[in-house]
């Protein structure tokens, strides 16, 4: 009985001393899937060269630096592709887009051959993040190419399923 009284008093003391008021708020952050793609330059040029001494002409500038920023769902794949809208054209003269190839630097980036019929993989990653790499385009130079100023437009697509 005595013990019970003392115990009750001690518990009451604890309630009195630890006096506090509480309030709550809930933080909500909605982060939608987002992507941003940027390049160091909007165009590259292949200068004239002797096909015998320079069978592969490097672009100017040599490095096309690509910055890929993507925020995606957990472990979702992020892919970057490039496709030519057409073959290389100089008036009515046409050279196949596949004469242009590229090598790369940077994690997740991959080399390839340009196509006008299907997008070609430039890079693949998993999950959100910032990835920076460089493409080095080369043009296959031949004596059989007709003289002319050829051009093509490349479309890059950054996607996540």
């Amino acid at each position: 009985m005595n013990t019970a009284l003392v115990t009750s008093a001690v518990i009451l003391l604890a309630v009195v001393v630890i006096e506090a008021q509480r309030g709550i708020t809930v933080l909500l952050v909605n982060l939608p899937a987002q992507a941003r793609l940027s390049f160091s330059t909007a165009s590259v040029t292949f200068p004239d060269a002797d096909p015998t001494s320079t069978p592969l002409v490097a672009s100017v500038p040599v490095d096309l630096t690509i910055s890929v920023r993507a925020r995606v769902q957990t472990n979702s794949q992020v892919t970057l592709t490039v496709q030519s809208t057409d073959d290389l054209r100089s008036g009515v003269t046409v050279l196949p887009a596949s004469l242009i190839t590229w090598t790369v630097t940077g994690s997740g980036f991959t080399g390839g051959t340009l196509s006008r019929s299907a997008p070609q993989l430039v890079g693949r990653w998993t999950g959100s993040g910032v990835r920076v790499g460089a493409q080095n385009y080369r043009f296959e130079n031949r004596w059989t190419h007709p003289v002319g100023i050829y051009s093509a437009t490349l479309v890059y697509t950054l996607a996540s399923p």
């Binding site: 001690v10 006096e19 952050v29 959100s128």
Partner: protein, 151 residues
């Protein structure tokens, strides 16, 4: 023996009698704080609308009072996490309010002072989130608990 125990108990209870006269009031609003949606290049730090903290301390004599905030965990969206420490805050008026970094393991001091705060006084807390491309997309939630006490 019984009387001794009772006297002892009453004596112990008598000491915090003043404390029992303390009255603490705390109101936090709004209940839900939503950060804006902006990509990290545009906004490296996301600022939420301000949270209003209304508090009153009475019967405290010249003793200290403390207002803390603690997250119940990291910000969670399914399996994805943003560490609670990515949330910081700025608060006014300073003092008694102070800026800080959120923790889910330890209550962080939001404001502190001595004596009474009467009538009800208002502070403003603006939570900020370090924005990053490395976060997974998702809808993140976490509860913050504010505690006003006289330690």
């Amino acid at each position: 023996m019984l009387w001794r125990a009772l006297l002892l108990a009453l004596g112990v209870l008598a000491a915090p009698a003043v404390a029992s006269g303390q009255q603490l009031n705390l109101t936090i609003s709004p209940l839900l704080v939503t950060f804006p949606t902006t990509d990290p290049d545009t906004a490296p730090v996301l600022s939420a609308p301000p949270v209003t903290v209304q508090y009153r301390v009475r019967g405290n004599g010249n003793r200290p009072w403390l207002l803390t905030v603690q997250a119940s965990g990291d910000l969670i969206s399914g399996l994805s996490r943003i560490p609670a420490s990515a949330v910081t805050w700025v608060a006014t008026p300073a003092p008694p309010f102070r800026a800080g970094t959120m923790s889910s393991t330890q209550a962080q001091t939001l404001a502190a002072g001595n004596g009474n705060v009467n009538p009800t006084t208002t502070g403003t807390v603006t939570f900020q989130l370090t924005n990053s491309w490395t976060y997974d997309a998702g809808l993140y939630l976490q509860t913050l608990t504010f505690t006003l006490s006289t330690p």
